[in-house]
């Protein structure tokens, strides 16, 4: 199994409080990796560091064998190889279509290509009818789907998803999950998925990472973590017995 991210001795503190301390973590290429763990475990922070949005205090992250810590620049090749979807979706001024097209526009994709790709993905998320609606008027569930479509449309190598289905109804959840699987199967995208939803991790993940208090408690392929966890904390969390 080839790893697209290799993380070594990563640490991060906010105002003296250590929120992340990872000795080693590898993210396999072309698969869906779920990061699970209680609130405050450092999952969002880890994702932001992978995307180069937050600098770590120490450590190295190799992305395709190149250390990206401190070397990522706005709009450079590595940055354009990945896209993050945040816990809360925000829309840019313009229509739903404009929002989804943004990543393609800034990559100077030809207009006809943009139209084709955006229409394709709109059909996939079932939002064709609202393509020309103004983005500030859409519902929360639609916004989350659009945010995912906006990150997927230019087919980045890596998708970093921070609880993309939080606060959604089951219909919306299944549509987003369909989209995530589509990215992996059709585009070969590596997906790092932070989720609170254990069932979702079970449904989607090939590889699972369990985090607590900023550290990796256990990681491994999905069957092993869910059927036969080594660590008691993992077992308690997965079975829902952990109080946090």
């Amino acid at each position: 199994m080839e790893n697209i991210f290799k993380i070594n001795n990563l640490s991060k503190a906010f105002k003296g409080k250590k929120v992340l301390c990872i000795d080693e973590l590898n993210i396999p290429r072309g698969l869906i990796t779920a990061i699970i763990g209680p609130s405050g475990a450092g999952k969002s922070t880890l994702l932001s560091i992978l995307n180069g949005l937050v600098p770590p205090d120490e450590g190295k992250i190799f992305f395709e064998d190149q250390n990206i810590i401190g070397s990522m620049r706005h709009g450079d090749h590595n940055r354009r190889s990945m896209a993050m979807v945040f816990q809360h979706a925000v829309m840019f001024h313009g229509t739903v279509f404009d929002n989804i097209a943004y990543g393609l526009k800034i990559r100077k994709t030809p207009e006809d290509q943009i139209k084709k790709r955006v229409d394709e993905i709109l059909a996939l998320i079932g939002l064709n009818e609202i393509a020309l609606q103004r983005a500030e008027t859409i519902s929360g569930g639609e916004a989350q789907r659009i945010a995912l479509a906006r990150a997927m449309v230019f087919q980045p190598k890596v998708l970093l998803l921070d609880e993309p289905t939080a606060n959604l109804d089951p219909a919306n959840v299944s549509q987003i999950e369909k989209l995530i699987v589509h990215a992996k199967r059709e585009y070969g995208t590596t997906v790092v998925l932070v989720t609170h939803n254990m069932f979702q991790a079970k449904r989607l993940a090939d590889y699972t990472v369990f985090m607590m208090n900023g550290s990796i408690i256990e990681c491994g392929n999905h069957e092993r973590i869910f059927e036969n966890p080594n660590d008691t904390k993992t077992r308690l969390f997965i079975s829902g017995e952990m109080i946090y």
């Binding site: 995307n51 949005l53 940055r79 354009r80 993050m84 945040f86 925000v90 840019f92 990543g103 230019f154």
Partner: protein, 233 residues
Amino acid sequence: MAYFQEAFIMAIKNLLSFDPELYGIVFLSLKISTIAVILSALVGIPVGAVIALKEFKGKNVLINMINTLMGIPPVVVGLVVYILLSNQFGIFGDLRLLFTQTAMVMAQTMLATPIIMGLTIVALHGLDPLLRKTAISLGASRYQLVWILIREARYSIGSSIIVAFGRLLAEVGAVMMVGGNIRYQTRVMTTAIALQKGMGEFQEALALGIILLILSLFITTGIDMIRRGKVWL
């Protein structure tokens, strides 16, 4: 009250008389201030955006300086430009620009640039920080990031242009000092008002003031309609 009423009627009459001198003055006011506000926007918006988005040493000091300049009295700006352009001490004295329309545009541009710059910084600081992260994460380059955030803040930045334009149309100190209120050449509405008042023609001056107000109302409404009518991007 009757005095004001008469002035108002005089203003309307003057407007309807299509007196070329009056219209020349109105046109010059608009021309000088429009050019100055465009130049100020071209400098103030991008520079303000870069200051707002970049982290660097002395950023707060710089922002405080810009905020101070936002409130600088027009006569002071006029004086500075006067000195710069004068034959006696100025480094640009050889250009012979004093008491020309160019000098007036220069002074008004210096007046409006900090206003637009300062309000652009405020507008960008007021944006949801997630907009910036989202654009970066989707792959925006430095330049593309600045552009999309300016677009997101377009209402506030548009307002800053209206505020600056209003201030330029209304100011008298700077244009008087570097323009000199020369008839048919550098006389604008505010300097004409000052002149009429100086000659004791209070009602004439008041009528001009009313015309200035009517003009401001039209322009502000116009810009606001452009803004709401989605013409602006």
